[in-house]
């Protein structure tokens, strides 16, 4: 059965609903936080400063752009979806050395390019690490005896981890990153800078 309400009747119903809501809303509803005290107790962890710092440092290594030659493609593959270094918090490849703490030297370095690589390294903020990726980065590779090639990045900058291969497979680079993580986890602020 269809009932036709007048406009005045609809207004009356609406007014009653508002009055009823107002009548039962005189006190604030309690904030949903009754479990918080207990959870706060559960979340207090005790650890050393070193463990905390090293965990933070190795969990978000941001690589700087230093890809002078063909190893770069293997690095790009490592960074892309199939091997995906964002699993290690590394997906942001920084064009600015100020925002990076890892240099992955993917490629042959010439003496003409060497001062620029050294400058980029110098511009990176401490603490910083270097992975020498591939034969050229380790020793100059097949170009070692050339007049124009630097026989290994360790002539220019200190290297933390060497990843051999020509080029290394992405798995090898990931293993090298894992080794660097181990190395970082053994750092201590007590001896830093010494």
């Amino acid at each position: 059965m269809l009932t036709i309400y007048s406009s005045a009747e609809l207004d009356e119903v609406e007014g009653k609903a508002i009055e009823a809501l107002k009548a039962r809303s005189q006190q604030p509803i309690p904030d949903p936080d009754e479990w918080l005290d207990e959870e706060l107790k559960r979340n207090i962890l005790l650890t050393s400063v070193d463990a905390m710092l090293d965990w933070a440092r190795r969990s978000s290594l941001w690589p700087v752009v230093c890809f002078p030659a063909c190893c770069a493609f293997e690095f790009i593959t490592t960074a892309a979806s199939r091997f995906d270094i964002s699993r290690f918090g590394m997906e942001i490849i920084r064009a600015s050395p100020r925002q990076a703490d890892l240099m992955i030297t993917a490629g042959t370095l010439t003496w003409k390019m060497a001062p620029q690589v050294r400058r980029i390294y110098d511009q990176m903020a401490e603490p910083k690490w270097v992975i020498a990726m591939g034969a050229c980065a380790i020793s100059g590779g097949i170009f070692r005896s050339s007049y124009s090639v630097v026989p290994g990045y360790n002539r220019i900058i200190p290297v933390d981890v060497y990843v051999p291969g020509c080029p290394p497979r992405p798995e090898a680079l990931l293993y090298g990153i894992g080794m660097l993580n181990h190395k970082i986890s053994k750092m201590s602020i007590a001896t830093e800078g010494k």
């Binding site: 003496w111 003409k112 007049y147 124009s148």
Partner: protein, 146 residues
């Protein structure tokens, strides 16, 4: 497609214009005396019907007894091409005329050849190192380097 002009035919025309300027010619290229290089290049660039307005590339080869320069010319207007060669004797200070005044594209390539082969280009506006650094000893693309 670009038509490669016969070196023999062009050499015949050049021989009329510059007697004694052409050393030899073949179906694919012609060899010019280095003293005539700039005049021949100017002729090839400005003569109607030839109009080699574009220098595709320059390269140099070390044959121990002499250096050979190879100029690959193209005409955008007529869509044809030609290979011109010239030789440069002596290893201490080999010198050739620069063609930068005709084709600006020669600038960097002549600097590269100066750097790696040690050939000087007379008339080049800015002949200095381009690939190697200032102070580098020797010319790495020469056969007797190392």
């Amino acid at each position: 497609m670009t038509v490669a002009l016969s070196g023999n035919e062009i050499a015949t025309r050049l021989e009329e214009q510059f007697p004694g300027g052409i050393v030899e010619s073949g179906p694919n290229s012609l060899l010019v005396k280095s003293e005539f290089l700039l005049e021949v290049a100017t002729f090839l660039k400005t003569t109607p019907g030839l109009d080699f307005d574009y220098l595709t590339s320059i390269t140099a080869v070390d044959y121990y007894d002499y250096f050979e320069m190879i100029y690959q010319l193209t005409s955008m207007k007529h869509n044809h091409s030609l290979v011109v060669k010239t030789r440069c004797y002596g290893r201490d200070n080999p010198t050739l005329p620069s063609v930068v005044s005709l084709w600006r594209g020669a600038d960097f390539q002549e600097r590269e050849i100066y750097d790696l082969m040690g050939i000087s280009f007379k008339g080049h506006p800015n002949l200095k190192h381009i690939v190697l650094w200032e102070g580098f000893e020797g010319h790495p693309l020469r056969k007797d380097f190392l």
